[in-house]
Symmetry: C2
Subunit: 360 residues, 2 copies
């Protein structure tokens, strides 16, 4: 039986969770929801399905130790530091090169490190079908989320014919990928009932994805080949160091999935959220106060509504405010209009520019 590998992409900088996130601790390393960090929960979710020895984590330069500390059950050799960020095609490709040495026939599950999944059992079941579908090498599998709002920040996948069903799960041919549509298109997609959100979770066979890199991203494939040739030699680190930064910066969605012919999409109804902003966090974290506020930590809100408060040490008192996000963490304090929470990166940039490098 060929191996089943999981590759967790943990390269994000997650500035939208300032002041909790920082360059020292991006989102995936934070315990935003529950006790365990996003990365730990991503690994935990695979328990019993993919052995820790078969789980790989690709992360940014300097974050390897944080990964090893947070998920010590994963072998150190499986923690791969990118010399620099080169988007998901390169990150998945780098991991595929390592996996190919172990089992080119193996299935490879690619998972973002910072998503929330409500129903782990359902997630596991859908992953099993996905692996089963990908095993033959005929299909690239994506997990599609049923949209609940005309979100313009996500990619969409249009489904085509139903190829088969496994239990209650239908496997559809993926007709078309559309990156971040405008509002009008997003509404149309939502109304049609034929589109999924692209979850960024993929399942394919190791040698299949490498072959597709060769077909659609030959420059990337050539670089990966040089890295592959160096693996296990004393040149390995030096080769990665020199080759990786020159790889094309492209997502695996754009670079492969949108081009490839044999893509299927599985409706992934396991309660998914990419928890991209503080208001998204408030759907899962904190406590409701009965006035429409969500509070974690010590906070008293008088005649205030729609606010999100997360206080680590301070006692927060609020009066007469609406739809404001307040987060206090380790000497840093955010106060932000809820509707602007997706722009916190701009605030982080402004803080840097103002010289508050230690605060970001």
């Amino acid at each position: 039986m060929p191996a089943v590998f999981a590759v967790i992409l943990a390269g994000g900088s997650g500035e939208r969770f300032w002041p909790l996130s920082s360059k020292d601790r991006p989102k995936q390393f934070l315990n935003l929801i529950g006790e365990r960090t996003m990365l730990q929960q991503t690994v935990d979710r695979l328990r019993g399905f993919v052995e820790p020895a078969d789980v790989y984590v690709v992360t940014g330069r300097g974050y390897g130790n944080l990964v090893k500390e947070q998920v010590p059950e994963i072998p150190e050799a499986n923690v791969i530091e990118e010399p620099c960020g080169r988007d998901t095609a390169a990150a998945a490709g780098l991991a595929a090169v390592y996996l190919a040495r172990r089992d080119p026939q193996g299935a490879m599950i690619v998972l973002p490190a910072d998503h929330y999944i409500a129903d782990t059992a359902r997630f596991r079941w859908i992953l099993e079908i996905a692996v089963d579908t990908a095993r033959s090498g005929e299909w690239l599998v994506t997990l599609g989320i049923t949209p609940t709002r005309p979100e313009t920040g996500y990619g969409y996948i249009q489904r085509g014919e139903m190829l088969r069903t496994v239990g209650s799960i239908a496997v559809y041919r993926a007709l078309r990928f559309t990156e971040k549509p405008d509002q009008l298109k997003a509404r149309r997609f939502l109304a049609s009932g034929k589109y999924f959100w692209n979850s960024g979770m993929f399942i394919w066979r190791v040698n299949v994805i490498l072959a597709l890199f060769a077909e659609y991203l030959p420059e990337l494939a050539a670089g990966l080949k040089r890295i592959a040739a160096s693996l296990g030699t004393e040149r390995e680190a030096a080769v990665i160091e020199s080759v990786y930064p020159a790889l094309p910066r492209i997502s695996v969605d754009y670079g492969v999935m949108e081009q490839a012919k044999n893509v299927v999409v599985l409706p992934a109804d396991f309660g998914w959220d990419d928890v991209g902003t503080w208001p998204a966090w408030a759907r899962y974290g904190g406590n409701q106060d009965g006035q429409g506020n969500v509070i974690e930590g010590s906070g008293v809100l008088v005649e205030s509504s729609g606010c999100v408060v997360r206080a680590s040490k301070h006692v927060v008192g609020a009066l007469g405010i609406r739809d404001i996000v307040i987060v206090e963490e380790d000497g840093r304090l955010l106060v932000c209009a809820k509707e602007r929470a997706q722009e916190i990166k701009r605030l982080v940039a402004a803080l840097k520019e103002a010289g508050y490098d230690d605060a970001v």
Copy 2:
């Protein structure tokens, strides 16, 4: 020449400056504007006019040591602790009893401990005229502030005939006191040009005010008489402890000034503010940022306007907010709609009720 005494009323709890103010350190003991505290500035302002030996401070139970610490130049015997708050008639009366032992013919200047005055030289000059006017015993003098807005939170004094001028300063008879008018009345007062705000600063002769207490507030006068009889004896503390809490709770404005016939008002154009709220503080403290925000401490505000930020230790980052007050101090954090800043007492009450006694 009879003495000139100053009595500084430092009994306020100043909850409207939470989280900077607290039960351990009410507003008058804070350095809200500049390096020196409000109380220290009030004492400093008298330098060269009233000797420290002639300055008395009436404060709440438990705050005597804070007074002694902040204004060590004032003799310890001049620091009077009230067993409990009984409003300004009782506080001024208690002080008058001490002053009467030293010089019943002396002039007594009553000053709140927590007001801001821009022009100290002008303040001094007006005080001199006020003392000169009060010396004969014929007049009670009030300092009236020329209104700049239809404020409904202050008392107003209607001026009558001009009695005399001293240099550029006119001395008017005070016709009528009106406590906190409604919006309509306040607009009328402002438009008429014949009303002043009651600054809460009074100048009168010691034996004159005591005689007026006897006339208008006989119950208070009787209590003060019992205290007067005990001064300098071993019963002093015990008598104050038993008599003071039973004194009527009334302001000197209501209790005496509104009744008395010989009241004059001096236009006090020395740049006055009672600094009653955080937005009022922002007129004097902090730095303007060019977007209409006032910031003290470390703060970066992106696409935000009309905000007031005072951070003691935290780095504050704000995005997309308007007219919000943010104050961070010693483990406590306030986020408040600017227009609700005068209601912060309610927030403090809610914090107490929620069990955050240490935070208020």
